[in-house]
Symmetry: C2
Subunit: 277 residues, 2 copies
């Protein structure tokens, strides 16, 4: 039993119970509820949490791909995390999230692959610098931009590419930039970074200034920060940026970058999203 | 038995034999051999071919993530393709590629997930235009840039960000652009596009003008073209572009775009690559 008075909503959503090694029971939570299911970012985070909880884990997350195969419904789910290949310094994972279907049979709602590794110090360089922007204290927290509980779990401060205020087909860009952190504040870790990689509103709503039905199909996140760099970031604001490359025949892609306030690239991410019309 | 005199080397590499539904036997080929294993792009293509060959296939490829979990060795391999979730218009796949290990036990060398879908006509727009560049006839085919058989399977015509001619740590960009097509010429399809998404030499070699050991860990490709658009592209040159975002502590990421000569975006791709030093 968890103490709802003191546990952070994100940690509450990450509460997985090991039934056997690699098999975990979790459940959806109201704090991260989207319109017809949980926020995709929180499902991605839960998949990663199953990897991080596994007794055979080697190293820290480097890459995570999560495929939203079907709706996750309210209630209990089972995550199976399988370390299919362990090398000297890298480890590869395959995962599923299942729920009981209408006839009681288990149905796969989400699939994932992940790679974890022991990192070592090497030469490095940033080829995509954080855009120059005034600090988060210069922007106001946005009101929840649509009716979804999970939006209240983030302090989002739009810098550019704001949520359209009118739906008049006047859009001309797919680029959004914002400052963002968890509400309540929470020190950044790999699961919260995985969740944050999915927090952008649909690029097509911005690009078209038109709200059409959408659903993320698959998201891939690459983690560039190690534990120490996440710890240094603490509960500070992240600078988050997303744009689309191509919208065609029912699917568009999005690329995203997340930096900490010191300009350190924490993660890069891409996703492909279904849209109607 | 295949007729080596007439079959294209790429189709030869895609020759999978169904042992049972969803279980296929293939083998590596010399034409796509890299330095210590097959070209990653051809392995990615073989995973996709297993999906396309599956009797339960729904629709065309939208996304493909391939994880290079361990070395693929010369000879036979087994691909298992499992359609874990089929919806009305989308289908989600999990795949593994296995080979017999030193003790005869089967070892997972590659994992993948894929999503296929029935596409429909919708609104669309391109937010990343093909760069303006002279046509392929204005550039010379590059000599194979390092000793790897697969390089001869492509006519690569560098436009910018060419393979360094000296290794003197003088690099200052990670962006490469080139015209490319299969050798011999071959009409573009989903598997050859999946392979082409991985044909860039390692960004770190360009960025540092230094050759360090590398290995792609995971590649994700989103397909924006449908069958008709691939057919229209035929065996013409593609304009291919890649750059890195972040190099740090042993891993860098790469984003890539592939257009046909008419400027139609065919695929966008991202990958994360291990590097030493």
């Amino acid at each position: 039993m968890t103490n709802q008075a003191t546990i952070h909503p994100l940690d509450d959503a990450m509460a997985l119970q090991a039934r056997e090694p690699g098999v975990y029971t979790g459940r959806t939570t109201q704090a991260y509820w989207n319109m017809v299911g949980p926020f995709g970012g929180i499902t991605a985070a839960a998949m990663l949490e199953a990897v991080l909880k596994h007794p055979q884990l080697l190293g820290d997350p480097i890459s995570l791909t999560v495929n939203f195969a079907g709706a996750v419904t309210e209630g209990e789910f089972t995550i199976r995390a399988n370390p299919v290949r362990t090398n000297r310094s890298t480890q590869h994972w395959m995962l599923t999230l299942e729920q009981a279907g209408p006839d009681g049979e288990m149905v796969v709602a989400t699939t994932a692959t992940a790679m974890t590794a022991l990192r070592r110090e090497t030469w490095g360089v940033s080829d995509v610098k954080m855009p120059v922007a005034p600090g988060p204290e210069n922007f106001e927290r946005a009101e929840p931009i649509f009716r979804a509980q999970w939006l209240s779990a983030y302090d989002m401060r739009p810098v550019s590419g704001n949520f359209p205020s009118v739906w008049d087909d006047s859009g001309d860009t797919s680029l959004s930039q914002l400052w963002v952190r968890d509400v309540p504040e929470r020190p950044l870790d790999f699961v919260s970074l995985a969740a944050a990689s999915d927090l952008f509103f649909p690029r097509i709503w911005l690009r078209r200034a038109r709200r059409v039905p959408i659903g993320t199909v698959s998201i891939t996140t690459y983690f560039h920060a190690n534990r120490e760099q996440l710890a240094q970031t603490g509960s500070g604001f992240l600078f988050a940026q997303a744009s689309a490359q191509e919208f065609r025949n029912g699917f568009f892609d999005q690329t995203a970058q997340l930096w900490n306030a010191d300009g350190l690239m924490l993660a890069t991410s891409s996703q492909i999203v279904y849209y109607k019309e």
